[in-house]
Symmetry: C3
Subunit: 337 residues, 3 copies
């Protein structure tokens, strides 16, 4: 499976061609994403924020699960790369005419699309699409089920590296609803690949997947123990809409036990940063005093998120072009013989 993820995401020369999952990607690619994003963070501060890297390319936002926020970040990232963007809200369209998913994709490919940004409620959908797409189209996972949300994980990595200088020696605590979180899974893979010292998951037993220790993390059910001396604390969003009512008694009870407050953060490293993928539930997983306080870097995550998405989009497009050129050269070479 890991091999499959590698083959699917990398060209023969080891360049990014799809971005489906942190799994299967080597440290060098993750670092290349962070370095490329750094150049785009600078662009975001300029008077003219557009670069021509994807000029004349067509990016299709394929959202099978609605998410204005995530769609907007990808749309902005694509437009700042000068791409043409087509937003397709699947709920309202295509499949309503009884067309199969694959037929719809084949059609979009036939329109000379260059990239699909896929959001889906089912785990594995972008992987499935990438396995069946033509070589001309790059697939970017914008969140699938409980499986992965790799661009979110990479913007988190960018934020950590920006504030901590690197990953060596770092203790990172991920707090909250681990069970339903595609973000947590992607973060754990990224932190391991990039060499964080210790990864902790912190939350009520009912919201921590069994056997998660096999992913190389330490489990804590007590908040103060879990964030003790941590350099980075990531609060997850309580995905109310995904939760079975039996798993959790109430939001206020969650806040009482796991909500981040200034008082509780005293046990963390004095220079610990607090992160959150957003949108935040104030008074549920995080107190306003923390969200608006000096430790929080939540809005910087958003800024870095545009740059990281620009990096992933431009790198995968570059990988595709390298692949096409290689194929062309091979054909020509065969022709000569």
């Amino acid at each position: 499976m890991n091999d499959d993820y590698a083959t699917l995401q990398l060209t023969e020369d080891g360049q990014l061609r799809n971005f489906i999952s942190i799994r299967g990607l080597p440290k060098s690619i993750l670092e290349q994403i962070l370095d490329t994003a750094a150049s785009f963070v600078d662009v975001g501060g300029r008077d003219i924020k557009n670069v021509p890297l994807l000029r004349g390319k067509t990016v299709v936002n394929l959202f099978f699960e609605p998410s204005t926020r995530t769609r907007s970040t990808f749309e902005l990232a694509a437009k700042r790369l000068s791409a043409d963007v087509l937003n397709i809200d699947i709920a309202r369209s295509a499949t309503s005419k009884g067309e199969s998913l694959m037929d719809m994709l084949r059609n979009l490919e036939a329109m000379a699309s260059d990239m699909f940004v896929v959001r889906h409620a089912d785990s594995g959908a972008p992987h499935y699409i990438a396995r069946h797409a033509t070589p001309n189209v790059a697939i970017i996972n914008a969140g699938d089920g409980r499986h992965a949300h790799p661009t979110q994980a990479m913007l988190d990595m960018y934020t950590i590296r920006h504030y901590k200088g690197g990953f060596e020696g770092l203790t990172v605590a991920i707090v909250g609803d681990i069970l339903h979180s595609r973000v947590a899974r992607s973060q754990i893979y990224a932190l391991r690949t990039l060499g964080a010292k210790e990864i902790r998951v912190v939350g009520p037993k009912t919201l921590i997947p069994t056997a998660i220790e096999s992913m190389g993390v330490n489990v804590f059910t007590h908040l103060e123990e879990g964030i003790k001396d941590a350099d980075v604390i990531i609060a997850l969003r309580l995905q109310k809409e995904r939760m079975d009512s039996a798993l959790l008694p109430s939001e206020s009870e969650f806040f009482d036990q796991y909500g981040l407050t200034n008082e509780r953060l005293k046990v963390a490293h004095p220079e610990a940063i607090v992160m959150h993928p957003g949108p935040i539930n104030r008074g549920v997983e995080i107190a306003s005093e923390v969200a608006d306080g000096p430790r929080a870097v939540i809005l910087h995550q958003v800024t870095f998120g545009i740059a990281v998405r620009m990096a992933v989009m431009s790198m995968s497009m570059g990988g595709r072009e390298a692949e096409r050129n290689a194929a062309r050269r091979q054909q020509e070479a065969q022709h000569v013989r």
Copy 2:
């Protein structure tokens, strides 16, 4: 009526100014559309797919009937011509405030729009709009009621010419629900104008309009007879949502009698191609073995469709500009006298 369609669609010099219907257009214009599209098909394969022909122009997609698929093809075509695109979903807007259609159009014209791409459930709506629009706005029909879908017909013609080299001597069979199909009507006009040898319509009696023979086609109610020796077979989409339940017993019964299978296609010309306007209903009008088989050119139709729409858009915009320049020269000449 035919004269009306000619006047409405052509400038005094015979250039395209609106694209409402294949009726009223001479063979030379249809061929010019195909030739112009050919140059855009090449563009679609390049790394940068945009050309500046409509830079600074405003294209408004006016969809009174929702169709994500068709809207997307026109949106992509306009963006690849570098136009600014405004999507207006009428169901959700304007008319909900009780504004009349003409007042809404006058407003959009006043915003200096250059082109309306009109989709409407009522036959004749784009024709009505074209008759009442200002000379500055070109009207493109993106499908109206049971009347016409001329860009679909032209992409079909492009596909036929691409695979068969031309229309002379060709036998073309259109199979399925002719009665409700705007596509079939436009195809028949185009095939006649371009000089196909024989046009056949094939389907159950209840789905074939009475007196359709007057359009110059031969009617078949038996599939194998209808596709015998045909060079081109076009399956129409079974418009379930448009059908009165009494006209047809069931989908499986339709497939039993008119569904295209490899077995049945044996009677067609050995090199016959199979076309479909999409989205296909697998196992209703076409078997998967055919849709995914070597005769099917369905996805190529989609690719050619973008190029044909680019051709129609750029030609009508060119016609409008020629018209304006001619009017200006005339005014100046009168001024001199």
Copy 3:
């Protein structure tokens, strides 16, 4: 309060930085808007209607209240300035996940947005947003509750100046539902600032706010008296959806008493123009013979509206940049000391 509006909307050097309300803006700024718009009206008539003034800038249309018409005018204006546009329909998004308004805005700011165009059903929402936004984002009011619709008022001023040469000596009558009209409020402020001789409001007592005389207008409840010798007559849209049924008996009764007809307009100045913000209710506030007649300049208002919005957008962006440059110079100066 007026001071607050001035501070909020102008830089220290007196340039436009937000556009929330006509209140608080000096005559010189209103005239600058009209002069700048004049240059964009010319652009609208050219073959290429785009100018690069906002290239690389991100404009977010934040519509908390749906309005396809107003959103389209701002979208077109932004695109003709070469900006990237992000449309966010709030009803369908963000806040549905329980995120607070301020958190949503902070997020959009963090994406390096340059401008928010805000439409809101609550009076004061754009003002609130402008007070809390970062210095990097310009706020444009696209209509808030019953409070203000300043771009509409400025396009009306442009139209008046275009047809009447200026404001001195003019008598302007605003007819209809003054009570619920944000447009009327903004028009009154603009006409006073620009120096119109007399401003009249005309309508049934139940639709005229008490104490409106304090705004410097004369109140008429009889139509013919109200429009007698008027140079400009502005019919307001009857906001059916905003009216309590008790305030007005029926549309036809309204038309009988206040509907503009050719007969009634005989008492106005012989060269009086008739304006309307649209969309018009034919046979309610205006007869078709008037709406389509020679006095009506309603569609020209729409054309001028794009140019006025381009002017406001480019001026506020210029103000923001001047502000940033001034701050930078100040920082550098402090650094030197």
